[in-house]
């Protein structure tokens, strides 16, 4: 059986067991709704869900891309400057040991309850994975390759752009796959603290009114969105680094 087939089977099996479990045990739906009830809830007002999902995904994506841009710049600085390595890198490591969700209320105070505070939390939470993996990637250049570029009198910028950066790409994508999921966590955390829109807000208000089915509908949606975002990064990776060992099987199949 192919991979897509077995994945579908496992997920379908999970829902079937859930559905049967709820029906047989007779658990009330404010404790655990069945998958069919969740599907009906989602279908009852798809536009309402779409609006909230769009807001959350928007904050998440913006935060992710900001983290990507800032993270790459920071990593380049850290790799090329001993001073930045000792200051910025140390600072980032100690910052990372704080559970960043604990900082969410601060960002609401500083930036208000609008989208910017969610984007900021999302970025902050995603940033570390990008920096760590990009630094690792930029440093993984073969010393012989550096000798080669030296023998050709390459400029530092040429070494960065033509050697270090392509070498770092596989590690950077590993970081991005972690970061995209973290960015979604950040967006939801921001919405939990204070928001009038977004899936985090939808969950929180539904919970207040014991609309458990709605909570589950939003969670299912989040799961789907997180998976889609992850595979989007995966797709871009296949397209950008088809030459890497981890991608060669996939690349060969695509030829």
């Amino acid at each position: 059986m192919n991979r897509a087939g077995s994945v579908t089977l496992v997920i379908a099996g999970f829902f079937v067991v859930w559905e049967l479990g709820v029906r047989i045990s007779g658990v009330p739906n404010y404790i655990l709704p069945s998958p069919s009830e969740i599907a009906i809830e989602l279908a009852s007002d798809p536009l309402w869900y779409a609006r909230h999902a769009a807001y959350t995904v928007g904050s998440c994506m913006l935060g992710f891309f900001l983290a990507l841009a800032l993270g790459i710049l920071a990593a380049i600085g850290i790799v090329y400057s001993r001073v930045l390595e000792n200051t910025l890198y140390t600072l980032l490591v100690s910052l990372n040991s704080i559970p960043k969700i604990a900082l969410a209320p601060l960002f609401i105070i500083w930036m208000g309850t609008g989208a910017s505070s969610k984007v900021a939390i999302s970025m902050l939470i995603a940033l570390f994975a990008i920096v760590i993996d990009t630094v690792l990637g930029l440093r993984s250049v073969d010393p012989d390759v550096l000798d080669l570029t030296k023998s050709m009198r390459a400029t530092p910028f040429q070494v960065l752009w033509k050697v270090r950066f392509p070498t770092a790409l596989p590690a950077m994508f590993a970081g991005m796959k972690v970061a995209i999921s973290l960015a979604l966590v950040g967006a939801i955390a921001g919405e939990f603290v204070a928001s009038q829109v977004g899936l985090g807000y939808a969950i929180l208000t539904a919970q207040g009114m014991f609309q458990t089915t709605r909570v589950f509908a939003a969670i299912v949606l989040l799961g789907v969105l997180g998976t889609v975002l992850f595979y989007l990064v995966n797709l871009v990776e296949r397209w950008v680094v088809p030459w890497h060992v981890s991608q060669r099987g996939a690349g060969a199949a695509a030829h």
Binding site: D142, V145, D147, R153, Q158, W243, H244
Partner: protein, 273 residues
């Protein structure tokens, strides 16, 4: 530091392409001591000569190459290439390393054109030359392949093309065929000789294979380790082009035996009773 010797005082030979005088290379050890990788190396390579350096591992032969290439600092002494003191990698020089170190994300042709990009020349103007080189070395039709699709021998051929496209006067080769199987190695030895005979570049060839050194070289520089130093330089007077059959001739055998004897006298080769 052995400062009792006069450094760099001998005159440069007018026909020397590479001239090494009194070269010392020290490596620092963790406790503030130093270890001497090369001591008092004198070496002359005339324009168009093929010179091999042969020696056991750790004798500093690769370090010597890196110093001449201007990618490693020297501790004492002087290296001149084309009459100019080496303080940075000289012009008209290219290196082939033991590992091919091709860039995985580039196709074969783009790997060959890499130095053209680095040296900011127009890639378009060099495309034909790159194809010609690949053709010459038996890789026609492989232009758009990626390095991982090639065998070890093919990869090293691409690395040689990457060096040759720089049109170097001086070609430095650091055990270029050391990682290849014996058959591929023989084949590339003959191809290298053919290339050298048609272009007459100056070649400095590092190897640990005595027969490879004798087969290819005008002169074989024999080095010993601890500290790295030159034992003897042997001039190989065998007619060219040499073939694999040359290795079966008594003259070839005498050269190889002489070099082996040098190592044996130092206790590097203790195979036989």
């Amino acid at each position: 530091m052995g400062g009792d010797r006069a450094r760099g005082s001998e005159p440069l030979r007018p026909d020397a392409h590479v001239c090494v005088r009194g070269l010392d290379k020290l490596y620092p050890l963790p406790k503030g001591d130093t270890v001497s990788a090369l001591r008092n190396i004198d070496l002359d390579i005339r324009r168009g000569e093929f010179v091999s350096v042969v020696g056991p591992s750790g004798c500093g032969k690769s370090t010597l190459l890196k110093c001449i290439a201007g990618i490693a600092d020297v501790s004492d002494g002087a290296i001149h290439v084309d009459g100019r003191l080496v303080v940075q990698p000289p012009d008209n020089m290219a290196i082939v390393f033991q590992r091919d170190i091709l860039l995985d994300w580039r196709t074969v042709i783009d790997n060959v054109l890499f130095p053209i990009e680095i040296r900011r020349r127009r890639k378009g103007e060099w495309l034909d030359r790159a194809r010609e080189l690949l053709d010459l070395i038996g890789l026609a039709g492989y232009e758009q392949r990626h390095p991982w699709e090639l065998s070890g021998g093919q990869r090293q051929r691409v690395a040689i093309c990457r060096a040759l496209i720089q049109e170097p006067q001086l070609l430095l080769m650091d055990e270029p065929f050391g990682a290849l199987d014996a058959l591929t190695r023989d084949e590339l030895n003959l191809e290298l000789q053919r290339l050298w005979m048609s272009t007459h570049k100056t070649v400095l060839f590092i190897t640990h294979s005595i027969s490879e050194a004798v087969l290819l070289s005008d002169h074989v520089v024999v080095m010993a380790a601890g500290p790295g130093r030159i034992l003897e330089t042997i001039t190989v007077d065998l007619p060219r082009p040499r073939s694999l059959d040359t290795r079966e001739t008594p003259e070839f055998g005498r050269y190889a035996k002489h070099i082996r004897g040098l190592f044996e006298s130092l206790g590097f080769l203790k195979g036989k009773p």
